[in-house]
Amino acid sequence: MYSQGLIGADSRTEETPEFLEAFQKRIDAEEKIEPNDPMPEGYRKTLVRQIGQHAHSEIVGMLPEGNWITRAPSLRRKAALLAKVQDEGGHGLYLYCAAETLGVTRKQMTEELLSGKAKYSSIFNYPTLTWADIGAIGWLVDGAAIMNQIPLCRCSYGPYARAMIRVCKEESFHQRQGYELMMSLAQGTEEQKAMAQDALNRWWWPSVMMFGPHDSESQHSDQSMAWKIKRFSNDELRQKFITATVPQAQYLGLSIPDPDLTFNEETQMWEHGPIDWNEFWRVVKGQGPVSRDRVKARKTAWNDGAWVREAALAHAEKRKTRKMAAE
């Protein structure tokens, strides 16, 4: 799930105008770019950064939901949640592999995540406080992610587009899983209903912010759009998401925590009130409620696993030596 508007990419390039023009022609002709093809350095860097952020988001995204696997209130929910969190891990894996076709390694990317240099979707810096948060994440966060990710299946970079096709296919159950969970709460006891509303209250705005800054503030969008890494603007996608989600909330009998939410008869779209961008930037910069915990949890897993990875490599060397000796 979970791509977000790209944060802080450097898409400057120093190639000749002829080279850039020829490249742009291929892009405009909807040709896919493959790993060894000549490409502007800025294109490569933008992709490494974006795919890396996307992969990190999947991996860090395992943590907030993973927080409830051991407390899922029924065995059916436990299995579904475990399978979903596992999927996020898989999606991170596909994406790291896609980025690796551009000359970075998973290890380098992991180290950048752990050092705090690489960013990930800010939504995961919020804690999951109740079981209803699992429903809200599936419904809203995956719902927002799908809006972002479906156009990425047509991204100009072949390996990224192919990874996204796989991701989108697998993710089709995630949002349904979340919405169904919310439905069971909304139709449940008073306590369950209150839990569902509380989760919607807390996850609504962070989900709306997942699409990134307004188009007028988004400096890297134009180049990414021209290169067809990105196909729709942040605001277009946000608008689509809100318009799809409002009726779903109404069906649940839950209210969206935006007093300025209005239906525009002309465009047939729901329009949101002002977004607190100060909060967005605070969380992006690592001051979200659980930002430190998230990175720390990843560090612990990575460091605690070092001896296992070393042993696997050491054993592989021994196998090789023995095989050669036997031949």
Binding site: P73, G92, A297, E310
Partner: protein, 244 residues
């Protein structure tokens, strides 16, 4: 002991071990393992669900899989001690998995001839799942046992820590061997053969004399199970009667 109770024992083994594995999710030593462990956990939880449901049916008191999983306390759980052992490190987790799978594989093989339709169905599915668990956990035990000095030490320590809990795998209840469920004791030869083969490749010593720990089948658990169940059951118990 009646068949529903025997099925509960088996179901508890699977749920507790599946739950333990699920605790790793998002924290594995490498990303590939973050996918492998949930695969095994989902196999085990799936088996537990079928067995709980069957136990509930045969018991005839209208208890569902969730009633049995979430509304019995640690004194009522009947899993063996091995599966409730904490994850500790990856060496212990993989060895625990191997000990259990190496027992379940011949067990499910034998259960393919069960007189109970549901047990036969579960066995048909589970026998393939645990065969893969043996391979996956076994390959890791081999790599860690014959990897670095540190990994070998950790693996050897895992053997000392966990081997004493393996004897309980073979303790017979009263319905085993009567047709619905196979004899547990009869699995010992196959289990030991699998284990010794892997231990040899992993350069691990087979411990001959380690005192055996028992008690899970009579509800005499270690201290950790209570914590695990407290966590697992907390939400369900806070809202009795709620539908999720």
């Amino acid at each position: 002991m009646a068949l529903p109770d025997a099925l509960l024992e088996l179901a508890d083994d699977h749920l507790v071990l599946g739950h333990r594995l699920s605790e790793w999710c998002g924290h594995a030593p490498m990303l590939e393992e973050d996918l492998a462990m949930p695969n095994m956990a989902l196999d085990l939880i799936g088996t537990a669900r079928s067995l709980y449901t069957r136990a509930g049916e045969l018991e005839g008191k209208g208890r569902t899989e969730d009633d049995l999983a979430y509304f019995r306390g640690e004194r009522d759980y009947r899993n063996i001690l091995l599966v409730e052992r904490p994850n500790n490190d990856f060496a212990q987790t993989m060895l625990r998995q191997l000990y259990f799978a190496a027992f379940m594989e011949p067990y499910w093989q034998a259960a393919l001839d069960s007189t109970d339709d549901v047990v036969r169905g579960v066995a048909g599915k589970a026998v393939k799942e645990v065969a893969y668990h043996i391979r996956h956990a076994g390959e890791w035990v081999i790599r860690l046992g014959d990897g670095t000095e540190e990994s070998a030490e950790r693996m050897q320590e895992a053997v000392l820590d966990l081997h004493p809990y393996t004897g309980e795998l073979f303790d017979e209840g009263s319905v085993e061997g009567e047709g619905a469920l196979p004899s547990r004791a009869a699995m010992h030869g196959a289990w030991e053969a699998t284990m010794k083969d892997i231990f040899a490749q992993a350069l691990l010593d087979w411990p001959e004399e380690l005192g055996q720990m028992r008690g899970g089948r009579t509800g005499q658990h270690g201290e950790q199970l209570g914590h695990m169940l407290a966590e697992m059951q907390s939400l369900a118990r806070a809202h009795p009667g709620a539908v999720w």
